[in-house]
């Protein structure tokens, strides 16, 4: 049986008087794709920021593999195997694609200063492994031939894929994607769809997804959570959500 990877209870985030997130619960099991949907400004990105440690939640618990992570520093959380992408692509623009991939492996590579200065055999081996690991993931997202290009010069769709590959080299267990399909053409969206499924089925990680593209969400999600104005509205499988009158109202009401 698949077990619980992420368990969020009563997550609340207040900015002064504004309650951006209000009592959200989320459960992600191993090897699951779970989506969070909701109208613009519903608080989805804020949920991600709370989970990844960019904000310290006002209330609520966040358990990753039965360990409380709410309140930990952002870099500590990502080292525990929870990494994310951003709604607006955040690459190291002036660095090359491969350098982007190496920075993500900083923790595995950065052993001590002197072994690097002296190029000890151990350091060389680590570096070689990191390069191979990076090459593996670049190939996986189809960017191997661009390895020595500046990341900022890639096409938008390629930048999105690089961001995902960069997360994957950190060997996460839970990958959080914030609107990965935004700005992609239908073809690229289809490739993204396949990539996400592959990550779950072959690489055995779980994915938490924020997305406005309903056909993508409905097609790949194992479970869907709906948030409106910071408050949980509904959750269930794609079929259940599609037929839920509250959800339809929330979406239509907005438009």
């Amino acid at each position: 049986m698949s077990q619980l990877l992420l368990d969020v209870n009563g997550l609340t985030m207040r900015f002064g008087g504004l309650v951006a997130v209000n009592g959200v619960n989320l459960k992600v099991k191993n090897r699951q794709i779970v989506s969070v949907i909701g109208p613009n400004g519903a608080g989805k990105t804020t949920v991600f920021n709370c989970l990844s440690g960019f904000y310290i939640p006002t209330e609520g618990s966040v358990m990753l593999k039965n360990e409380q992570i709410a309140g930990l520093k952002d870099y500590q959380i990502s080292r525990k195997g929870l990494v994310r992408t951003f709604q607006h692509v955040r690459l190291f623009q002036k660095m090359t694609v491969i350098e982007n991939m190496l920075v993500a492996q900083h923790r595995h590579l950065n052993t001590n200063l002197f072994s690097g200065l002296l190029k000890t055999p151990n350091y060389r081996r680590l570096e070689k492994d990191a390069m191979e690991h990076a090459a593996h993931w670049l190939k996986e997202v189809g960017l191997l031939e661009y390895a020595n290009r500046e990341a900022g010069n890639l096409a938008y769709g390629q930048q999105r894929r690089l961001e995902i590959a960069r997360c994957m080299v950190t060997q996460p267990e839970l990958l959080m994607l914030d609107e990965p399909a935004a700005g992609l053409n239908p073809n690229e969206t289809k490739e993204l769809d396949e990539l996400i499924i592959k990550l779950r089925d072959e690489h055995e990680i779980s994915i938490l997804l924020i997305e406005h593209d309903m056909s993508l969400v409905m097609g790949i999600s194992d479970h869907i959570y709906v948030i409106a104005q910071g408050t949980p509205l509904a959750n269930g499988t794609a079929e259940q959500i599609k037929g839920n009158p509250d959800v339809i109202k929330a979406y239509l009401g907005e438009e």
Binding site: S52, D74, F92, Q105, H106, R107, G116, A147
Partner: protein, 420 residues
């Protein structure tokens, strides 16, 4: 010609007129016993009017001037170098040749040139140190001279009070400067850009004022003099050995005394130090820590999301940058034999920053070129010494218009991947 252009031109000409009148047009002079305000000579007025005309016309025809600037061919230094492959095989030889030339050259030129070259090497060291902080980690530091001062005073004081040698003080100076870098790093961890610049500026001033006012220890504005010169395995370069029983260089090798030995020796030490610094920083740039500095400059939030500890990365940049300045400071004190807070004023920080920006942020080659230009140019323009700062400013403006990315922009390393 639209009217906004004309307005701009009149405005700029007016400003130039006011400034020129204040700075060149009137002079305070003593007329026997009383102060008198004197006007400029007719010749100076002609120059002022000419200058204002240039400002007026260049504003009026700014589009054409811009086009002219764009039309000037930009020297593509990248293209002058041989191709990647060929260059890789040539590189060790080239470096060896440069080092050999640098070693032989001082024996063939005048003392003054060697001295100037030594000064240039100090600025190269400082530029390379600041490059870590500003060019790589993207943290604007306007008080870099503080670490230079810490290095210099460390050696001066240790030598004065405890008679410690240059070679022993070199690592201590670097270490102490690094400690100061680390300490400064803490309060500015959350700051970026303008705010960081202001805090570091303040830090530089604090150190200078401290040195100026702690008279009992540092000698205040009078500085410290008679700082011992470096020795070669205990051999001094003076006419007579200072310590009882010590030998001097010319006695040991049974040569006639010449003061140029000392100058050349100092130069060779500087070359050695610069080579060490270049090698170390070059390695660091290709190591995880160097990449992390750059990643921090590019996107701090992405760094955090990938498990990089920004505190450690920022502190390491400050610490290593400062230790390089400490090295340079220690050597500076040994070369001068005399230091005072005067040597560590804000304009020094500004010059070092200018070297980094003119050279091309992050690019070691560029910084070396820029340091050479910035130290040699003022010497060549000795006749204009009164207008040195003016020329300096002009150079900056022209460079930033013509080549904003710096003399030799940083090149990304090309990493070979095994095709799977």
């Amino acid at each position: 010609m639209n009217s906004s252009k004309l307005y701009n031109a009149v405005f700029a000409a007016g400003i130039s007129f006011i400034l020129a009148c204040l700075m060149i047009g009137v002079k305070l002079d003593t007329d026997s016993t009383v102060l008198a305000v004197k006007g400029a000579t007719a010749e100076q007025w002609a120059w002022i009017i000419g200058g204002i005309a240039v400002v007026f016309l260049s504003q009026l025809f700014s589009t054409q001037v811009d086009a002219l600037f764009r039309a000037i061919p930009k020297p593509d230094i990248q293209a002058l170098l041989p191709q990647q492959q060929k260059f890789a095989t040539l590189k060790p030889w080239l470096i060896a040749a440069i080092i050999v030339v640098m070693m032989i050259w001082p024996f063939m030129v005048s003392r003054g040139s060697v001295d100037l070259a030594t000064l240039t090497l100090i600025y190269i060291m400082l530029g390379l140190g600041l490059n870590i902080v500003v060019g790589l980690a993207g943290l604007l530091d306007l008080g870099f001279v503080a670490f230079y001062a810490v290095g210099a005073y460390t050696y001066a004081l240790l030598s004065q009070y405890f008679g410690m040698s240059f070679w022993a003080c070199l690592p201590i100076s670097a270490g102490l400067a690094a400690t100061f870098g680390f300490l400064l790093g803490f309060p500015v961890l959350r700051l970026r850009g303008d705010y960081l610049a202001i805090v570091t500026l303040g830090f530089g001033e604090i150190i200078r004022i401290l040195l100026n006012n702690w008279t009992s220890l540092t000698g205040g504005p009078n500085g410290i003099s008679g700082i011992a010169k470096p020795t070669l395995f205990g051999l001094e370069f003076n006419r007579r050995a200072k310590e009882e029983g010590a030998m001097t260089f010319h006695e040991y090798f049974d040569m006639d005394y010449s003061s140029s030995y000392k100058v050349i020796f100092l130069y060779l030490i500087a070359v050695l130090l610069v080579i060490c610094v270049i090698y170390l920083i070059n390695r660091l740039m290709r190591m995880p820590i160097g990449r992390a500095w750059e990643a921090l400059r590019e996107d701090e939030i992405a760094c955090r999301s990938l498990g990089l500890n920004r505190t450690a990365i920022k502190l390491s940049a400050f610490t290593l940058g400062a230790s390089t300045a400490g090295f340079a400071g220690c050597f500076f004190a040994a070369r001068q034999g005399f230091i005072s807070p005067e040597s560590f004023i804000f304009i020094e920080s500004a010059i070092i920053l200018a070297i980094v920006v003119l050279g091309g942020m992050g690019s070691q080659m560029g910084i070396i070129f820029a340091a050479i230009i910035m130290t040699i140019l003022p010497e060549l323009a000795r006749e204009f010494s009164e207008y040195r700062m003016l020329l300096f400013g002009l150079l900056m403006v022209v460079m930033m218009r013509w080549r904003p990315q710096g003399l030799v922009p940083m090149k990304r390393p090309n990493l070979e991947l095994k095709q799977q």
